[in-house]
């Protein structure tokens, strides 16, 4: 078995082979061992590889560097799961161009009960970040695996939400080797996820996350999930590639609505128009899962246990309370001027000029109120000279 894994590694790490042909070779020679030990003539005669490709393959599998790479990989506790193994995710088995071999740091998501992908813009608003965090958090509370891409913005917020729950699990599909953390700022999250979830990639360790890898990686994100939830996507956003993959793989797509004129959510709103499920609260996703997602062991049979149900209810309640407290404290802790400015503010950034114009107050007063509210935690300076309201 050990050896078979090594042969899988040799086969899939050969440049230019690809998932489809790796599987064909496996089928032709009966095992990856068979393919690795085949002569160039046999490889070419099989009709799967051309002459030069056969030579490259032949040389590659015999190169000594591979063994060192394999040892390093074992030392780094990176697991390998090939499409022929039982551990290979069943959800991935049916997707077009399924990965031949997966590299995993941490673990693979449990098959039961559900996995949900949360994707969206890298540059997002405070609104999007809060939504993604809450969705990640509440899904994790319900025992659902949260899957995303470790990117900045929405991805990161969703992972963070899941990690904020005790025992919450979250998984990231990477566009490079699982030994590389990209973006670097997420190193702490990356470390935590290798303990409480996993990092998954079809690329061998050491591979840089190249631009062309990202669209391919998206098919694994959706492939591992039952539902893909989009939070803040612009008109031609990369998240929509994940949506295309999800539709091709027959996955449910849901979207968090934005306001009509909000460019940051234009992609989401269009998805909703085309029939995507609407997320007005994280629970909508759970309901969609239990009603629509079919499992081998029955239709909608999954029920959350009492404990999780209770935890979720508490969370929803406490959010409502917080909202109320904020409303309440608004009236008391803010001065009349601050309240006026707060009303003008929005969850998309506005410049000081705009705020001054809309509030019809003196600029000095506007600035004083903004700074004071920022320290109180009611508003946020999202960029120099632009403020938005915190939810």
């Amino acid at each position: 078995m050990e050896m078979e894994e090594y042969y899988d590694f040799l086969m899939s790490s050969c440049p230019g082979i690809g998932n489809h042909r790796a599987e064909k070779l496996y089928a032709m020679f009966g095992s990856s061992k068979g393919a690795v030990e085949a002569s160039v003539t046999d490889l070419v005669d099989s009709g799967i590889l051309k002459k030069e490709e056969g030579e490259i393959f032949y040389d590659h599998v015999r190169s000594g560097a591979n063994y060192q790479a394999y040892c390093q990989l074992k030392k780094d506790k990176i697991q390998l799961v090939s499409v022929h193994q039982k551990a290979y995710p069943t959800r991935l088995l049916t997707i077009p161009n399924r990965p031949y071999l997966l590299y995993i740091k941490g673990e693979l998501p449990k098959e039961q009960p559900y996995s949900v992908a949360v994707v969206g813009a890298r540059t997002c608003t405070q609104y999007g970040e809060t939504m993604a965090f809450q969705i990640g958090r509440q899904l994790a509370m319900a025992g659902v695996n949260v899957i995303s891409g470790l990117a900045k913005g929405i991805d990161g917020a969703a992972h963070r939400g899941a990690l904020s729950v005790e025992g919450g699990k979250t998984y990231a599909c990477l566009a490079g080797g699982v030994d590389l953390c990209f973006p670097r700022e997420h190193i702490a999250m990356y470390e935590e996820m290798s303990e409480r979830g996993g990092l998954i990639s079809e690329y061998p360790p050491g591979m840089k996350p190249l631009a062309k890898h990202f669209p391919l990686r998206n098919r694994i994100i959706s492939g591992l999930s039952d539902v893909v939830v989009v939070v803040e996507a612009r008109e031609r956003s990369g998240s929509l590639i994940t949506v295309d993959a999800a539709l091709e793989q027959n996955r449910m797509v849901m979207a968090v609505p934005g306001r009509m004129c909000d460019k940051m959510s234009l992609g989401c709103n269009q998805l909703l128009k085309l029939g995507a499920g609407i997320v007005t609260r994280p629970r909508d996703i759970l309901e969609m899962l239990t009603q629509e997602v079919f499992h081998e062991d029955g239709y909608g049979c999954y029920r959350m246990d009492e404990e999780k149900e209770e935890a979720l209810r508490c969370e929803e309640q406490s959010l409502k309370e917080q909202e109320k407290v904020k409303d309440h404290s608004l009236l008391h802790s803010l001065s009349a001027q601050e309240q006026m400015i707060y009303k003008v503010l929005d969850c998309t950034p506005k410049s000081i000029n705009q705020i001054t114009e809309e509030s019809k107050m003196k600029i000095g007063m506007v600035i004083e109120a903004l700074v004071s509210m920022e320290f109180k935690g009611f508003v946020k300076e999202s960029a120099r000279g632009s403020f938005e309201r915190l939810l």
Binding site: P183, N353, E368, V371
Partner: protein, 518 residues
């Protein structure tokens, strides 16, 4: 026979008085010039001989020696043509010798005897006045630039014949010079012509009051240049002495257009492809650069990120010291560079950050964009303001008639008209002068760290707010001090002795980029 004529020569932005000695004697016909002269001075021989001949006084064949002293100063240019001609004519007893010592004489001659304009006349006349010379003959086309020189009889000469007349008879030419229209043309750009942009105008006002250097950040086409070009209109009005000082520089650079003096504070906006010499001054015979042309005015650097880091680095010291020392070929010259620095930049590569509906730059892209700037140069700015896209496309009032009709009214009522702003600036500058009368500096911008405690006293709330800002934005010590200095200026604008929370708030909003943000 020997005659002596006073003339002048330029070095840097100052003139020195020189004596032109002309000796004519019998002997071999030679024309000999000595006294550390540049090539263009030596060319005087042909022009002078021909010009003198063409005003009907042929020079007898004789031995002519000319010495220009002091020999320690290098003389360059064509301004010695006229004094040499006058010296020869005096030797020929066509001009009375007794008149020579009363006059400063400068000018270039053309072959027909016409007196051509030269650069630097104002500096020469100014220097002559200091030396106690009461009368001057200058090219008539340079006469306007001397209009601010009081207690001097300055004659503008059109040709050599007129010079002879004036020197032989004081009443030959009308004395004094025509006054120009005093530069009161009402078409100076005014802040009331710029709609909206209140935050930027407020930042500009604060900067002008405390003489803080200002950085503007914002998308292209938001009127950063429009705003910057109006800053000179709100700085304190120039005194006569300052006008002379600036005009001297422009006169030497030949930028006066031989007309009037400079009565407005200069606004210079060099392009980012500018060479170091053009920016700082220099050359074989040192000439002032942009930072000197902006002396007592505004130097505006648009697209700051595109300037070469080396150019910006070399500007640091002159900006700090208010002058630049240029050394070329053993000649050392000091050019003044006391100016207000205003720069503009795009906040990111595409320019639209933080408008996320248009800007897709990643945080990394944005940091890299700002990272192009030289950090020590960035440190010269005390405040930064974000100029955002105006709501409507027009930046300036569209309907010209309407604009004209209510301009008067607006100038009076608009707190951000140039006139209103200038009043504030003059008041705040006076407050600072009074407060710092015993110090070596006179603006809040120059407050050294050790003097902050003395001059910037915060009330309880202000101090608490500043402390929280220090923690929240993890400010550097320099960033912290800058906020205090700017808050000092804002408090001065409101005529308050103690710095209070609202002043600190404004200074926080306008804080400069921190190194941690780069």
């Amino acid at each position: 026979m020997l005659s002596k004529v006073y003339s002048a020569s330029i070095l840097g932005v100052e003139a020195s008085i020189v004596e032109v000695e002309v000796d004519m004697s019998n002997g071999l016909p030679v024309f000999h010039m000595t006294g550390y002269l540049g090539a263009r001075v030596r060319e005087a021989e042909d022009r002078v001989k021909t010009a003198v001949k063409n005003v009907n006084h042929p020079i007898p064949s004789s031995h002519i020696v000319i010495n220009v002293s002091p020999a320690s100063i290098r003389k360059s240019g064509t301004m010695l043509d006229l004094p040499i001609a006058v010296g020869i004519l005096a030797d020929m007893e066509i001009i009375r010798k007794s008149a020579l010592e009363e006059f400063l004489i400068v000018g270039e001659l053309s072959l027909d005897g016409k007196v051509n304009p030269i650069p630097g006349v104002l500096a020469m006349v100014h220097e002559a006045k200091k030396r106690g010379i009461k009368k001057a003959i200058v090219p008539v086309r340079n006469l306007m630039e001397t209009e601010l020189m009081e207690d001097m009889m300055i004659v503008g000469a059109g040709n050599l014949a007129e010079v002879i007349d004036v020197m032989n008879d004081d009443d030959a030419l009308p004395v004094g010079c025509p006054r120009s229209s005093e530069g009161l043309s009402g078409n100076e750009p005014d802040f009331c012509e710029v709609k909206g942009q209140e935050m930027a105008k407020q930042a500009i006002l604060i900067a002008a009051c405390g003489r803080h250097n200002l950085l503007m950040s914002g998308p292209p086409g938001t009127g950063k240049t429009l705003l910057a070009s109006r800053i000179p209109s709100i700085l304190p009005r120039l005194t006569n002495e300052e006008m002379i000082e600036i005009s001297k520089i422009y006169s030497i650079c030949g930028l006066l257009d031989h007309s009037s003096v400079i009565r407005k504070r200069p606004f210079r906006a060099p392009h980012h492809t500018i060479s170091d010499v053009a920016m700082l001054g220099g050359g074989a015979f040192p000439v002032p650069g942009e930072i000197t042309l902006a002396h007592r005015g505004v130097l505006f650097l648009d697209e700051l990120t595109l300037f070469r880091p080396f150019t910006l680095e070399s500007m640091r010291q002159p900006l700090e010291e208010g002058e630049i020392k240029v050394i070329r070929n053993g000649i050392s010259v000091n050019f003044p560079s006391d100016l207000m620095l205003v720069a503009a930049m795009n906040p990111c590569k595409c320019g639209y950050y933080p408008d996320r509906s248009r800007c897709r730059c990643t945080d990394y892209d944005i940091k890299r964009h700002i990272g192009h700037l030289s950090k020590p140069f960035l440190d010269r700015f005390d405040l930064m303001v974000h100029v955002d896209k105006p709501k409507y496309q027009e930046l300036v009032w569209e309907d010209v008639e309407e604009a004209e009709a209510c301009k008067e009214l607006r100038i009076l009522k608009d707190p951000y008209s140039s006139k209103s702003m200038q009043k504030v600036v003059e008041r705040v500058v006076a407050i600072q002068k009074e407060r710092y009368r015993k110090e070596e500096f006179s603006y809040n911008k120059d407050l050294p760290a050790k003097a902050l405690e003395t001059y910037c006293v915060l009330d309880g709330e202000g101090r608490a707010l500043l402390k929280r800002a220090y923690e929240k934005y993890s400010l550097s010590a320099r960033g912290y001090n800058k906020i205090i200095k700017v808050a000092r200026t804002i408090a001065d604008m409101e005529g308050e002795e103690y710095i209070r929370a609202p002043h600190v708030s404004e200074a926080i909003i306008l804080r400069n980029l921190e190194e941690s943000e780069m």
